[in-house]
């Protein structure tokens, strides 16, 4: 053992000691395999670094130049003929053969489609989603609806669904406001794509319109104003929209939410964009369940 080796071993021992000292002083839990592996790795790096350094320093001290010179030289500086080790050469040939296989048989050019993979993934996920949630109970739907609401609806309707003080429809108060009803009566509506078709503007005017608006905004309680007959022909006497033929103005139901989500809506408050490609029917059902619950019923 020469002096260099002794110094190297001493240095390695110091590095290992320092590692163990740091591990101890930081109270690192070595029963966690990740921590243990990391510490062993640090020690291995110290030992390898010292060992490799010693090897090459020794080689520099003892080696002398030998071998056959190549023909060419540059201003007297020559180059030894240095043949590639056969292991390297064979590995290199191997990668070439593998590349030919990869291009022609393994994954031929253009054979892979990222979009195709995406489509398959989505299809598989949707099938699984449909299967697990086909008969979802109310609690599951409620929870699913809440997470959809928080991502898609909350930026305008607020995380609590209160419409952010008038910036969007308020689901907590739970009723369409008088102003909104009057605006629909005045302008009509042909936005939601109901089977009954467009609602013409000015179906009621003046005091009739006021009466209807008060009645509808008030939750359709108490005595029905006579003018409501104009609404009843499409929305039904109970305002429930005749089984989905027209909008349900008495309550939020799945049908109403589906139409609004699909077509968007422009009303007295502002414009809501359509979210037609964002939710599956089950998700809309879940959303409807959640929105209904916001009213605290």
């Amino acid at each position: 053992m020469n002096a260099l080796m002794a110094k190297g071993l001493l240095f390695a021992a110091i590095l290992i000691g320092a590692t163990i000292y740091v591990v101890n002083s930081m109270h690192i839990d070595l029963s966690d395999p990740i921590n243990l592996i990391t510490m062993i790795g640090a020690i291995a790096i110290a030992v390898l670094t010292v060992g490799v350094s010693i090897k090459y320093i020794n080689q520099m001290k003892t080696d002398s130049a030998s071998g056959e010179l190549a023909e060419e030289n540059w201003d007297g500086i020559g180059e030894y003929k240095n043949e590639l080790p056969s292991g390297w050469a064979f590995s290199f040939l191997g990668t070439m053969i593998w590349a030919m296989w990869y291009w022609t048989m393994g994954y031929p050019v253009n054979a892979f489609s990222q979009i195709g993979q995406y489509n398959e993934e989505v299809k598989a996920y949707n099938a699984k989603f449909e299967a697990t949630n086909k008969n979802a109970d109310a609690a599951t739907l409620q929870q699913m609806g809440e997470s959809i609401f928080l991502v898609q609806c909350a930026p305008c309707h607020g995380t609590t669904g209160d419409g952010l003080s008038g910036k969007a429809h308020d689901f907590v108060d739970g009723r369409i406001s008088k102003k909104q009803v009057l605006a629909v009566i005045k302008n009509g509506s042909n936005q939601l794509g109901y089977q009954m078709g467009a609602m013409p503007p000015m179906m009621a005017q003046g005091k009739d319109a006021e009466d209807i608006a008060t009645y509808v905004a008030g939750g359709m309680k108490g005595k029905q104003p006579a003018a409501f007959a104009a609404c009843a022909s499409c929305h039904g006497a109970d305002g429930k929209g005749m089984n989905g033929m027209a909008a349900n103005i008495a309550d939020y139901d799945e049908n109403l939410i589906t139409h609004v989500v699909k077509h968007g809506k422009k009303g007295a408050i502002g414009t809501m964009p359509a979210f037609h490609d964002r939710m599956t029917p089950i998700q809309i059902k879940a959303l409807a369940t959640y929105i209904k619950s916001l009213r605290g019923e």
Partner: protein, 231 residues
């Protein structure tokens, strides 16, 4: 085997050139592929939208917002359909971005409205309670540079043959003749806003930055190509 090459600097240089040129071609050629052409029905940005794009760049929205939706379910669920290369055909430069401190904006025009953007630019936390986005109140008083945006439209029309109409052409006269169209477009946006300063500025024939920016944001996404619009 190649000692002769090492002794011939000229042929060695040719060899180096060939290798590098091959690598270059592999990167450049795909840009000429069919996929980089405009997708069916894509229209170029209007001048107002171009001015908004400048505001987007100037206020460095790209530092926190990307404009590229990758084909992963988690992304398409949240941001909408994945992006196609042909959608960026009129983006010079495209604003893909590389960091999402805020959400992706490539389809923001499909699911946010003018009044929402107004609230959000004025005070982000008024609509998104936990938002760390700063307020951009200066956009409500600064004037957008529509002259430069118009010049950009003229340039890309002449140089890259972007299909703008005949009314976009070089010269101050042509710009003055075109200006009412920009203002009419700005008025449409301002009409849906509540801020009085903004409305006054538009009425006085000036375009506030926020109007241009909102017009640009509303154009992002499927709204700029009608082909895929759901009836």
């Amino acid at each position: 085997m190649f000692h002769w090459l090492e002794k011939n600097p000229f042929f060695f240089a040719v060899g180096v050139f060939l290798v590098i040129a091959f690598a270059g071609l592999v990167e450049i050629l795909p840009n000429f592929a069919e996929a980089s052409r405009p997708v069916a029905g894509l229209r170029p940005y209007t001048v107002l939208e171009l001015a908004g794009k400048e505001v987007y760049k100037k206020d460095n929205c790209i530092a926190c917002h990307s404009q590229l939706i990758r084909p992963f379910k988690a992304e398409t669920d949240r941001y909408g359909q994945y992006s196609l290369s042909g959608e960026y055909a009129y983006d010079r430069p495209f604003l893909w971005g590389s960091k999402r401190t805020g959400p992706d904006l490539h389809r923001v025009g499909n699911y946010r409205t003018t009044d929402w953007h107004e609230n959000h630019m004025w005070e982000p936390t008024s609509v998104v309670p936990g938002s760390i986005m700063p307020a951009y109140k200066h956009q409500f008083t600064n004037t957008a540079d529509i002259a430069t945006a118009y010049a950009e439209a003229v340039t890309v029309k002449n140089v890259f043959h972007v299909p703008y109409g005949d009314d976009i052409k070089a010269g101050e006269k042509a710009f003055d003749a075109y200006k009412p169209k920009i203002l009419a477009e700005a008025k449409k946006v301002a009409d849906q806003m509540k801020n009085k300063d903004v409305k006054d500025m538009v009425a006085a024939g000036k375009v506030p930055e926020v109007v241009a920016l909102i017009s640009y944001l509303n154009s992002l996404g499927r709204s700029r190509y009608e082909a895929n619009k759901v009836k």
